[in-house]
Symmetry: C2
Subunit: 354 residues, 2 copies
């Protein structure tokens, strides 16, 4: 068993008693930090930064030097697997991710090979190993992947498309083709997360960023089902410790009971969900992670503090809460406000614990 | 009491027995219809079309000539009130609505005058009267307005902004200023909907398009509260018939119990909500309107029919369901598929009614 100096995050995920509510932020290694922007400029573009082991490690650690975060998260992109499958990921300035060769036909799907991390994505596990060494057991490291449905939307649309026109066309008109794609992605994601765990990731999160755009039934058939397959195939112990799985479906608050039954250890909540009601609904079966609106970080320090207090009070006393934002932190946030946020969680939460 | 030939829609809203499930579509008068595009070209731009009584009436009636819809809805824009308040609404091609003079300061809010329809928006009630005459009691006419919060987002952002950066900054950092704005908007919307009812609207819908981007608490304080005020101030009977109110918060599925307690007669559901669970949650207190994903209309006729059947079955037997899409129909839909959709609702639904 690794000798973690701060295992608050892992204990909270296991719903064990903690002294305070642990906190980390989605996209905590990101553009709001000047040191991140400097490192990214050094790397060239975003994808080169992801693929450079030393620089990916460096930006992973940057927020931990500034803030008393209770976990680190691997710096990478959710679209590494489709990139490794040969779709040609690139980032057009101000337009988000794009693929040079989006999927169009049955044959395009049949041609895709399930990825193998050691062969196709060694830079990811290299980064995990290096970050673990550099963290030196200070806090746990979270590995992650996009969900099959979320990856599929980008692979089919060729980039971001708020209407999901083509991916929903596949879903409704070519469901078998979409299922074949999701099957390959689920196998790839399972192996990918297991490789991250083998390299040292101490928890993993599945980012189902676009599950929330689906109908209730389509969510269960085309997104949740594949995440359940992944969870069932994951290594759930390493170094004599459980490796918890966090499932985050943005916009998935209505499906929390289904998510709680997926085999995950925790559900990520966006800010639209009342965390008190959520806790009652999952009835202690899983932990909950979230769920402050990232927009609050644009407000004055006393507003941030009041919102932290409000969310802590809603969750209430006892174990099983990991504080986080309801989505990634945005580039325009002042790093000083983040300090105030992290500090507020640590200062105000002990009174909610034994 | 008006001698409506088809009052199925109004009876379903009152949760009274019907022979089949009534259906209409949000944005049913829209760009997917070639005759709409022709009329719009004649009018010039979108706003001129809204402000031209005869042409607004014409496009309102167009979908009813093609399809056996159970209700007409006034053709207008949700942003007529802010436009009448002097913000200068315009539509930049491919960019959605914009305001020349977005709100920036306390003084900007203080300067706004509550609108009075007969003085500031006569073209809207003129259109309602003309449409009622032309409908000749065939089906009921729905009036509508945007919700105060939804209107406020456009007025503050100056247009569409998926991150709601400035409107959330007001919400968190200047809540009193936002409340003053929402108060004025709630008064304007109340008077506006009452004027539509006086002119002949037989039901009204409040479009809370952006309520779903708020946190649970912010939704209740900054959106739902103002819709409750509006509902409390509405004329609820005309021509010896109740005038029902439909409240549609896109992304509001988690707050259905709160919505059901708002005083509305029906809640609009987007496609993310399981309508069977929704029915159980509201327990017959209100009717439900929805909730097929508009993306289904891009699929083959048999897929559309299967989805209609699935939603009818989920709602189950009995009164209180108005079939609709979960959001507006998009411009790329084939009008023949719409025919198949409306027909499927009418053909498949009688078996769910006495």
């Amino acid at each position: 068993m690794s000798d973690l100096k701060n295992d608050t995050f892992l204990r909270a995920l296991a719903r064990q008693p903690v002294e305070y509510t642990p906190v980390w932020m989605m996209r905590q290694a990101g553009r709001y930090l000047p040191e991140y922007r400097a490192t990214r400029a050094k790397a060239g573009d975003f994808l080169s930064l992801c693929k450079n082991t030393e620089l990916a490690c460096e930006v992973t650690l940057q927020p931990l030097r500034r803030y008393a975060l209770d976990a680190a998260i691997l710096f990478s992109d959710i679209l590494t697997i489709p990139d490794a499958m040969g779709l040609g990921l690139y980032f057009a300035e101000g337009e988000g991710p794009k693929f040079r060769k989006p999927l169009k036909t049955d044959a395009d799907v049949d041609r895709l090979a399930v990825t193998e991390t050691s062969r196709d994505l060694p830079y990811v596990t290299d980064a995990v190993s290096l970050i673990r060494r550099e963290l030196n057991n200070s806090v746990p490291l979270i590995g992650f992947s996009g969900s099959p449905w979320t990856l599929a939307t980008y692979m089919i649309e060729g980039g971001s498309n708020r209407d999901f026109t083509l991916s929903k066309l596949w879903l409704y008109n070519h469901p078998e083709r979409l299922h074949r794609l999701l099957d390959k992605l689920a196998l790839s994601v399972t192996e990918y997360l297991n490789a991250q765990i083998a390299a040292g990731a101490q928890a993993v999160q599945i980012f189902d960023t676009w599950g929330g755009v689906l109908s209730d039934q389509a969510y269960r058939h085309f997104s949740l089902r594949y995440m359940e397959k992944i969870i069932a195939g994951l290594t759930r112990e390493a170094d004599g410790r459980p490796v918890p799985v966090i499932l985050f479906t943005k916009g998935g608050g209505q499906w929390l009971e289904d998510i709680a039954a997926s085999g995950c250890d925790a559900a990520g909540l966006d800010w639209t969900t009342d965390i008190a009601r959520a806790r009652a609904r999952v009835g202690g079966r899983i932990a909950l992670q979230g769920n402050m609106d990232p927009a609050v970080l644009r407000a004055a320090p006393e507003v941030v503090e009041a919102e932290v207090e409000r969310i802590l009070s809603l969750f209430g006393r006892g174990a099983g809460h990991i504080f986080n934002l309801g989505h990634g932190i945005t580039p325009d946030i002042n790093p000083d406000t983040v300090a105030c946020f992290i500090d507020a969680v640590h200062r105000l939460s002990p009174s909610f614990h034994p």
